[in-house]
Symmetry: none
DNA sequence: GAGTGGTCTAGACCACGAG
DNA sequence: TCGTGGTCTAGACCACTCC
């Protein structure tokens, strides 16, 4: 629990923002914050930069640091915060860990698309893992995961019903640290309507991506189809041209 | 051209990586780099962190810093460096610039929400700009834009039928460089179905955000409702531990 | 134990914004 | 001019990896 200073400070400021501790949406200046938390200004800067990255605040040189009003407005249940995605095998939503129901688990030849994403060759095999994730017993996401069998020959039904990433950490002492994601939306299929309790006109949000281990090896190609109300992605975007 | 140190260093290291200056995919350690570039280790760290964010390198505590092999192998997947979005007033999709049809243009008192987002006071006015964007004559997006009149008093129907951002660049010599975006999806309304040629069960993708000028001033509050097939957002994501 | 990245500090100086 | 964020430094100590 004894996290780094900047993590603690960042969490505390975030909490304060949620609690409405800054009604004018202006944060104290960095030097004051440093004094308040009794840490160096560098640490404050680091903490604030995390929040900037998450799209929660923005800074204006010469003026101060401000809460992003959009952020407060979107108190989504499922917040993807900028580059700090709550997605992954160990999802966390408002502190709650969703439960997993294994729908399917088999080995299939990798499709062309999967071959490309996971750097496989023609004829290589992948696990297909279909899971339903629930929050409070309410299903909110169907997930299709594809993992090269060569990478994790020991995968089985039990492992796959829990966290694959924890398994990777234990067995291969690698961590899954980043992913490349595409976000889309589509009309829901009949099956999705049934599983996610959607009406016929309600769509699914789609997050599709490749998850990488810390050595750069692609571990999983994953397609997540979410109840549309759970798709809420916040991002700070640079429109800069290099 | 005289950029910050960390920008220069970051660019130089990136160039070296492209040139294959690190055939074993291992970068020199941070202390060595600091000496090489004659800057502090902190500056090196900052430069490297930019590259980590872009997915070009990764660090392993105790071991060193390494080039992401995927980055070199398949740059197609990694074309979106960090958060570089193609959204903005000057959308570009496959090189084509969409055409704009002005649906509505008026001045209204800013809502509370807009006041907060755009740093306005009670009673301030904003332009409301409702536009339909088409690609190849095919409508793909309805856009609601809100801009403080105080910021761009000279805005008129003609300007607004083209690019607001180009106008800003010319008139105020500011560029629009950043935004905070929230991405969602919803069932489409009747009006949207008509305008975007959607079937009743087909959704809209929603991108809502504040666009900032390079000095940090919020310029526009915008809600974009897209034909779902045009919503495609790519992002690199760090699955940080929090 | 040596090498390497992670965190943190204290302070200096710069650049921008507002009064 | 003063308040504020941006950059940079030099150095200390910690934590992890690998020999």
């Amino acid at each position: 629990m004894s996290d780094a200073v900047y993590v603690t400070v960042q969490a505390d400021i975030k909490a304060k923002i949620y609690q409405g501790a800054y009604p004018d949406l202006k944060l104290p200046d960095e030097r004051t914050l440093a004094a308040t938390y009794a840490v160096s200004r560098s640490s404050i800067k680091r903490a604030l930069n995390v929040l900037v990255q998450q799209g929660i605040i923005f800074k204006k040189r010469g003026s101060g640091t401000f809460v992003n009003p959009l952020y407060l407005k979107n108190q989504a249940i499922f917040q993807h915060e900028g580059n700090n995605l709550g997605v992954s095998d160990s999802f966390r939503i408002n502190g709650q860990a969703p439960s997993i129901e294994l729908l399917d688990f088999r080995v299939i030849p990798a499709t062309k698309e999967q071959q490309q994403a996971l750097f496989l060759k023609e004829g290589d095999f992948v696990y297909e893992i279909k899971r339903l994730r629930k929050l409070d017993g309410k299903p909110f996401m169907i997930e299709y995961g594809y993992v090269p069998i060569a990478l994790l020959p020991g995968l089985n039904k039990e492992t796959v019903s829990k966290s694959i990433y924890e398994y990777v950490e234990k067995e291969k002492s690698r961590t899954v640290t980043r992913s490349f994601m595409t976000i889309m939306a589509e009309p829901s299929t009949k099956e999705e309507q049934a599983l996610l309790k959607l009406r016929a006109n309600e769509p699914v949000g789609i997050m599709e991506g490749i998850f990488f281990m810390d050595d750069g090896t692609p571990l999983e190609y994953s397609t997540m189809r979410l109840h549309y109300q759970y798709l809420r992605y916040n991002a700070f975007v640079s429109l800069a041209a290099e």
